[in-house]
């Protein structure tokens, strides 16, 4: 029959697909679907005509008609999806906002360079088997001086600029510890060797100017053990300095010096350059003093009840502010204690940025 020849079917298909494309909304689309595929739709009516055909013609026409039916159904389905998206897009277009507006403020706080630096020091010494020990800030004269081989009229006492508390009924006056070294004594009194301790803490001296603060921080180290000699002191402190400053070939120099509680004693210098006014830590033509150290004085060992013939070891101490200033380029000591928000934002450290050996000891940018 004429309605089922290829030409006619194509025109039916094209006509319906065009109508689908042109549909402007879901109602119109539904009307097209009913007109095409509904019980009395054009394609359904054509289907009925197949019944009157002979077998061969019916098969051919049926196949052709099914293709048309599929094409129409596919067009309808596609349009069914597209039409609501268009409506959604229109709605979304009206919802646009200016995303260049600032986001909600985040709370940005930082850790102090001092606590950060102490943690870096601890991370390195932990790697070398040290454990943290602590002691009181208000000390007895005995722990701060006498036990450390600094008797009352020793000239070294005058260099300590000690803060004193009033004398008690026995005439004893407590001091604010002038160094973290009393913790050496407290530790040796409390336990037997081997000892490897690292002692961070507040220390006090009655001096206040551009390069001295009445309160500052020190970190003390003490190692007592079998066969520990000054070569170990040297190795340990070279390892520390290179790890702390992150300079593999950092020159480290040991100079003879004097501390009443060590014998022999050594000051430790690291290499630096001062070219162009800026200070750079590393191999260079100049030296910076950063540590005091030495073999524990036999008198100190004896004061703690150790047999100096049997035990020996080394001790060292460093200023935390000083190494923090050198490492992080902080110019002024006094700013550490001022709690100036601008300073803390600039020199502080983000709290998640924890120093560790595996993740590195150089803090993220300020």
């Amino acid at each position: 029959m004429q309605g089922l020849d290829a030409q006619s079917l194509k025109s039916v298909s094209d006509e319906i697909v065009q109508a689908v494309d042109a549909a402007e909304n879901l109602e119109a689309l539904d009307a097209i679907r009913v007109n095409a595929l509904g019980k009395k739709g054009r394609i359904s009516l054509l289907m009925r005509e197949l019944g009157g055909m002979d077998a061969d013609a019916r098969k051919a026409a049926g196949q052709a008609l099914n293709i048309v039916k599929d094409q129409v159904a596919a067009a309808l389905e596609a349009k069914q999806f597209v039409l609501p998206q268009a409506a959604l897009n229109e709605k979304l277009a009206t919802e646009a906002i200016d995303v260049s507006l600032p986001s909600r403020p985040s709370r940005e706080a930082r850790l102090h360079p001092l606590s950060r630096t102490i943690e870096e020091v601890l991370a390195i010494f932990a790697e070398m088997g040290f454990q943290v020990a602590e002691g009181p800030d208000i000390e007895s004269d005995y722990y701060n001086f006498t036990a450390l081989n600094i008797p009352p009229e020793h000239p070294a006492r005058q260099e300590h600029d000690t803060f004193y508390l009033p004398a008690n009924a026995d005439g004893q006056r407590k001091v604010l510890r002038t160094h973290t070294s009393p913790v050496q004594i407290r530790t040796m009194e409390a336990k037997e060797p081997p000892i490897r301790i690292i002692v961070p803490g507040r220390t006090y001296r009655s001096d206040h100017d551009a390069t001295h603060s009445p309160m500052f921080h020190q970190c003390e180290g003490l190692v007592i053990g079998d066969g520990i000699h000054m070569g170990h002191l040297k190795g340990c402190l070279i390892d520390f300095c290179r790890a702390f400053f992150g300079v593999d070939d950092l020159p480290v120099r040991f100079r003879p010096s004097y501390f009443p509680f060590t014998e022999p004693s050594a000051e430790v210098d690291i290499g630096c350059t001062r070219d162009g006014g800026g200070l750079k830590i590393g191999a260079g033509d100049d030296w910076l003093e950063i540590l005091g150290s030495g073999m524990v004085n036999p008198r100190v060992l004896a004061n703690c009840g150790y047999d100096p013939e049997k035990y020996q070891g080394f001790a060292f101490g460093m200023g935390i502010e000083r190494i923090a200033m050198l490492k992080y380029g902080i110019p002024d000591l006094r700013t550490f204690y001022d709690s100036d928000l601008r300073w803390m934002r600039h020199y502080g450290f983000l709290p998640f940025d924890a120093p560790s050996i595996h993740a590195g000891l150089v803090g993220g940018a300020g």
């Binding site: 909600r104 403020p105 709370r107 940005e108 706080a109 930082r110 102090h112 606590s115 943690e119 601890l122 932990a126 790697e127 070398m128 088997g129 454990q131 943290v132 800030d137 208000i138 000239p155 070294a156 803060f163 004193y164 508390l165 009033p166 006056r173 407590k174 490897r196 690292i198 507040r202 206040h208 009445p214 309160m215 190692v223 000699h229 000054m230 070569g231 170990h232 040297k234 190795g235 070279i238 390892d239 120099r253 040991f254 100079r255 003879p256 004097y258 009443p260 014998e263 022999p264 073999m295 036999p298 008198r299 204690y337 001022d338 709690s339 100036d340 928000l341 502080g348 709290p351 924890a354």
Partner: protein
């Protein structure tokens, strides 16, 4: 300790350069603090002759000089010095020279219309002294055209080294030279120590009146000098003293100062004609005795102070400072010179008590060469007579002598054991001997006698240091510390870990970490429950930093004030650090305090900004306690916070009967004391108060998650305003029983629809069944129980 290169070379025979020596000194333990080469700075300055000096046509006080510089044509210089005149020799600075005293580089120019091409200099302009009355006048035979600095002896660099307290022997130039010689940097030149032959008996004698305390003055020698002159010092001596910053006074005074620097040996010179009597008594001061010192101050002496006195009383504070009354002066004809050893502790104690510092005290209290009174007397006597003429007496001596001989056992193996340095015994011995030690060998060990000038040497460790120091610390082996574990262990224990974690947590909550001083002003200490004499420093830096802090809050509040003054009113700070409840170690606490001032955020358009309130502080405190391992759900709130908080907006977080943290809005009086304009809240806890959680190992308890749907039920209760919300919540929790998995108070309302004195609290509860989905009846039953207990315990009525 300052000296010059040539001064050092008086004692050290060496072919090493100054630079080599300067590199060596720090490696011997003698730290070089500065080296000043004045010749370098004065290199362009030459000797010149003024050929003519005529009145400047346009200026009364200026002269136009033609100056011969020794080469080329004479140079015209306009000069304002009143002494500029034809024929004089002076110091000329050419155009291009930098003149240190006026910090100016000279340019060719005109002064009032007359060309001026350089400068005739005063001493001040060359920074040689403060003299500026005229230009320098040199002797007529000064060679024109020759550089001035070498001519004037200024080409002798000044070296300053720091001497550690043990090295009293290096408080004299000779000691420094001895160390350098021992280290192979030359040889020590001999010092003529032959005793002098006195030609008469001293008119003054010593008398020790020490009542059995003879150790205070073990040795004292005196030499009288007759017919001495006391002119200005010879130029070489004056130059050296000037170079190290000492003003030359007169030959007799300068000799005592020179010997002190040269040999580290303090002396004191008396004018015999001012001494009353023929005895100088060495004794302790008498009660009420006064002493007028050379520094023109008068001191009240205490009975434990050692003095030297004549018939009129004390006029020398032994080892500390001489007296005004009997000191030498320009007219002195007869001098009595004291060479003494005093007890270092006595000198130190006296000096400290009187707060009197001197170069002599500095040396006496560090310990002097015990043999100096005998060994150096001849040298010193010859120095005096060679400069001042006259004749010297026989020596007069007193004291039982210094017992400085001691032997220290040293095994040559000790060096390796203590330092790791492997050095042949022979070389060790050689080093000790080069430093003046006497080494006697026995079968197993050495007996080492330190020299008389090394009172600091105390035991074998000191000897090892001497050997290692001279051999060089560069030779110390570098040994890695033996590892105790293959995988390193934590450095902190559970208690020490807490501040580290707390710091991070508080910073994550938006609080900046501060580090403030452990002391504060008495006023602030008092406001925060502290202060008192026992915790007040005897010698504070200032009153503002005089009391050990009872709390970390005041310093943080002060810091907020400083930030407010800088334009940052919104400020959130915390500090973890010590506070002090007493002066015993057990009285020290580790406080964690935080404050928030102003607003929670900067001005912004989202509307999240609000002023801080008590619940910010409460939340900070709860968070901190949570980090410390406290189960915050178990905390209760007590209203008895310290009085520096607002009485109605503060509280204490309690665990049972234990106070763990205080929090609140700061009392308005406190806020205004610190000048804070915005609302300010804070919290504080002591880490020591929070018990450590029991170590349970890393494994968590087994989590049971319900497979059944949770249900929510909301309740709005009306109750009296003075009933605590926490009481209502506790009642609800109790009534809801074990199925309760969450409870939130989501609304607080007072106002229209609620009668006065009442409030409405809205609460939602979440019930999570474990065995089967809840039926409506079960839910109703729980709801009814909640409503009933809320009414019974809190008088709360379910809102209709």
């Amino acid at each position: 300790m300052k000296f010059t290169r040539d001064w050092l070379f008086d004692h050290l025979q060496t072919d090493r350069t100054l630079d080599e020596i300067l590199d060596a000194l720090p490696m011997l333990g003698l730290e070089v603090e500065s080296v000043v080469d004045r010749a370098a700075a004065l290199a362009p300055f030459t000797i010149a002759e003024v050929l003519s000096a005529t009145q400047h046509p346009n200026a009364d006080k200026l002269r136009v000089c033609m100056v011969s510089t020794g080469s080329g044509d004479p140079v015209q210089v306009v000069c304002g010095a009143p002494n500029a005149r034809a024929g004089m020799k002076g110091v000329f600075a050419p155009v291009g020279a930098f003149v240190p005293g006026i910090e100016l580089t000279l340019k060719a120019g005109e002064i009032r219309g007359e060309a001026s091409n350089g400068m005739l200099c005063s001493e001040r302009e060359m920074q040689l002294s403060d003299e500026h009355d005229g230009i320098i006048e040199l002797p007529a035979d000064a060679p024109v055209g020759v550089p001035f600095a070498p001519y004037a002896g200024l080409d002798d660099p000044i070296i300053e080294i720091a001497i550690t307290p043990n090295r009293a022997d290096c408080l004299g130039v000779r000691g420094v030279a001895r160390d350098l010689a021992a280290a192979g940097f030359g040889s020590l030149k001999p010092l003529d120590t032959t005793p002098h032959q006195g030609s008469f008996d001293s008119p003054v004698r010593w008398q020790l009146d020490l009542d059995g305390q003879d150790h205070l003055c073990p040795s004292i020698t005196g030499i009288a000098f007759d017919h001495v002159a006391n002119p200005a010092s010879p130029e070489w001596m004056a130059r050296r003293l000037t170079a190290i910053g000492q003003r030359p006074i007169s030959a007799l005074v300068d000799i005592t100062n020179y010997v002190m620097i040269d040999l580290g040996r303090p002396l004191h010179a008396y004018d015999i004609d001012k001494i009353n009597g023929d005895r100088l008594h060495v004794r302790l001061a008498k009660p009420g005795e006064k002493f007028a010192a050379l520094n023109e101050k008068t001191y009240d002496l205490a009975a434990d102070m050692l003095v030297i006195a004549d018939a009129d009383g004390a006029d020398d504070l032994a080892g500390v400072m001489g007296g005004e009354r009997t000191g030498v002066c320009a007219d002195t004809k007869r001098m009595f010179l004291e060479i003494a050893i005093f007890d270092p502790i006595s000198v130190a104690t006296t000096g400290r008590k009187l707060n009197l510092h001197s170069d002599a005290r500095y040396r006496f209290e560090r310990g002097l060469d015990a043999t100096a009174p005998q060994i150096m007397a001849g040298h010193i006597a010859r120095l005096v007579t060679s400069i001042c003429g006259g004749k010297a007496s026989h020596e007069v001596e007193a004291g039982r002598g210094v017992d400085w001989h001691r032997q220290i056992d040293l095994s040559p193996e000790k060096l390796k054991r203590l330092t790791g340095i492997d050095l042949p015994a022979e070389r060790q011995k050689q080093i000790l001997e080069s430093l003046g030690f006497i080494v006697e060998e026995s079968a197993s060990s050495w007996q080492v006698t330190p020299p008389s000038w090394r009172g600091d040497i105390d035991g074998a460790a000191d000897l090892v240091e001497e050997i290692a120091r001279i051999h060089g610390f560069d030779h110390l082996p570098v040994m890695a510390l033996p590892r105790t574990h293959v995988v390193s262990q934590p450095a902190v224990n559970a208690e020490q870990l807490r501040p580290l974690q707390l710091r991070r947590a508080l910073a994550e909550c938006g609080l900046m970490e501060a580090v403030t001083f452990s002391f504060l002003a008495p006023k602030e200490a008092g406001l925060f429950g502290g202060g008192g004499a026992a915790l007040t420093l005897v010698n504070p830096i200032s009153a503002d930093l005089s009391v050990m802090r009872p709390s970390a809050l005041p310093n943080l509040l002060q810091a907020a004030g400083r930030n407010q003054d800088r334009g940052e009113a919104d400020c959130a700070l915390f500090e973890i650090g010590p506070v002090f409840l007493g002066d015993e170690p057990t009285d020290q606490r580790t406080a964690c305090a935080g404050i928030r001032h102003g607003h929670t955020a900067p001005r912004e358009w989202h509307g999240v900004r609000r002023t801080v309130d008590v619940f910010d502080a409460k939340s900070d405190a709860e968070m901190a306690l949570g980090v410390l391992g406290v189960r915050t759900a178990s905390l209760s709130v007590d209203k008895s916070a310290p009085d520096y908080f607002h009485p109605g907006r503060s509280g204490i977080l309690m665990q049972g009967r234990t106070k763990l943290a205080s929090f609140g809005e700061l009392h308005p009086n406190i806020a205004s004391h610190f000048g804070l304009r915005g609302p300010v809240v804070g919290f504080e806890l002591f880490l020591d108060d929070v018990p450590l959680a029991k170590a349970k190992g890393p494994a968590r308890s087994l989590l049971k998650m319900s497979a059944f749907q949770p249900v929510n039920r909301d309740f709005a209760f009306v109750l009296d305003t003075d009933v605590a919300a926490s009481d209502l919540l506790r009642a609800i929790k109790s009534a809801a029983g074990p199925l309760l998995s969450d409870i939130q108070l989501f609304d607080v309302y007072q106002g229209k629809g609620i009668e006065d004195g009442k409030k409405s609290l809205a609460v939602t509860i979440t019930l999570t069944p474990q065995k089967a989905t809840l039926t409506e009846e079960e839910i109703e039953k729980i709801s009814a129980a909640v409503v009933a207990l809320a009414k019974k315990n809190c008088g709360a009525i379910l809102r209709g």
